[in-house]
């Protein structure tokens, strides 16, 4: 296939992935690696390199919109970025040591898990219990909940179980560095389930953190030669354009149906990745 046609096909596929990712709220990054390895037979090292730069682009591109809404919490994000960046250092180092098929297997498992969490219902279990460590670290805030009688209303929250959240965030960082993804699903679990932060705060703060987490792997990816410019170019531009278009369309489509469709695609890709990489081991 000639380079122009190959780049155009990649651009269109990445655009579709970014669009679906934004519309379903799952992020386009998670399907880029299976798309490149299964459909285009790209080696997983080049695939995670192209995915990592796409993830930095979508996270940073979307941040301005999230900031405007006032849900994200920069202190919670910054504190937990200590954990995710340290984890990412370990994860990126592992890519140079672990066999390719092992990376593929872990990736398949993370895909299945992401599909599962995307369909779960969320109930905020808020507590104002003044957790001593969280108060000292100022891991608290107030969530805008709309207006009543012309007055802006909000709910105050304080983080819980800080050490557990920090530990889960380190694991999210390792997965991000190992797989070239944002690992938003694990980040949201750490904040939403362990630290009991409101779901909206968890998702927007997670998105805010993804770029910094991914940047911590980028240096080693660059020096190890995972960033193939001619491959990363159409993928990064496509995912970025798709996710920017998707975030504008968001209000006009039925999100629930789309989530289920996207979850099925992710499950299929996850099963295929596990199966093909298990074969590689046998």
């Amino acid at each position: 296939m000639d380079p122009l046609l190959f780049s155009l096909i990649l651009l269109v596929s990445a655009l579709a992935a970014g669009l679906l990712g934004a519309l379903s709220g799952l992020g386009g990054g998670v399907v880029i690696v299976p798309l490149l390895t299964i459909v285009f037979h790209v080696d997983i090292h080049y695939a995670i390199g192209a995915s990592l730069v796409s993830v930095i682009a979508t996270s940073s591109g979307a941040a301005a919109a999230y900031v405007r809404e006032g849900f994200s919490n920069i202190r919670v994000g910054m504190f937990l970025e200590i954990a995710t960046t340290l984890g990412a250092l370990v994860g990126a180092w592992l890519t140079t040591r672990v066999p390719t098929h092992a990376i593929g297997l872990v990736f398949g498992a993370v895909l299945l898990y992401s599909a599962y969490t995307s369909l779960r219902q969320h109930h905020d279990v808020l507590t104002r219990n003044p957790d001593a460590l969280a108060v000292r670290l100022r891991l608290k805030g107030s969530l805008p909940t709309g207006t009543r009688d012309g007055q802006a209303t909000h709910i105050d929250y304080v983080a819980q179980h800080v050490p557990a959240g920090f530990g889960l965030m380190t694991a999210a960082g390792v997965l991000s560095g190992l797989l070239g993804i944002g690992s938003g699903a694990v980040k949201v679990i750490a904040m939403d389930q362990a630290m009991r932060l409101p779901f909206k705060v968890s998702t927007t703060t997670s998105n805010f953190m993804i770029g910094v987490t991914a940047a911590a792997s980028a240096g080693l990816y660059l020096r190890s030669g995972y960033l193939a410019p001619a491959l990363a170019m159409p993928v990064m531009l496509g995912v970025l354009a798709g996710s920017l278009i998707g975030s504008r369309l968001l209000v006009r489509v039925h999100v629930r149906t789309l989530k289920i469709v996207f979850a099925f695609i992710i499950v299929a890709l996850g099963v295929e990745m596990i199966a093909s990489n298990l074969k590689g081991f046998l």
Partner: protein
């Protein structure tokens, strides 16, 4: 977190003001990076017709011209399209790092010493990862 608009501190350094600047900076960085990658990509495709497509099915690491800062800068000076794409990717990688740097300054003006320290730790981890890891 963010102060309500009626707050007496609305004109001082508030979280929301820091976040707004950070958001604008991130968007600018990403759009600049995307523009550079696009320019490099168009140049690459214009010149790529004659050459066969690189093989990505087996990993063999990119050559030093695309894996080191000096390699990329030399390539850009020589107008190598792939080095121009890499320059765009480097701008993209630098964007979140600059975001953390901005937070150091923002927390400093908010007189939040604890979070000046926290953001400096994150910044040091990032600089270590970019240059030494």
């Amino acid at each position: 977190m963010s102060q309500p608009a009626s707050s007496p501190h609305a004109t001082a350094w508030t979280d929301h003001r820091v976040e707004t600047w950070v958001g604008i900076m991130l968007r600018t960085g990403v759009l600049l990076a995307a523009a550079i990658v696009l320019i490099g990509g168009v140049l690459y495709l214009v010149h790529a017709h004659a050459a066969p497509r690189p093989d990505y099915t087996h990993f063999h690491a990119e050559p030093p011209a695309y894996t080191t800062l000096s390699g990329v800068f030399h390539g850009v000076a020589a107008f190598d399209p792939r080095a121009i794409i890499m320059l765009g990717l480097l701008v993209l990688i630098a964007t979140p790092v600059a975001r953390v740097g901005m937070c150091v300054v923002g927390f400093f003006f908010e007189r939040d010493r604890l979070y000046v320290l926290v953001s400096i730790i994150v910044l040091l981890i990032l600089l270590y990862s970019l240059f030494f890891h």
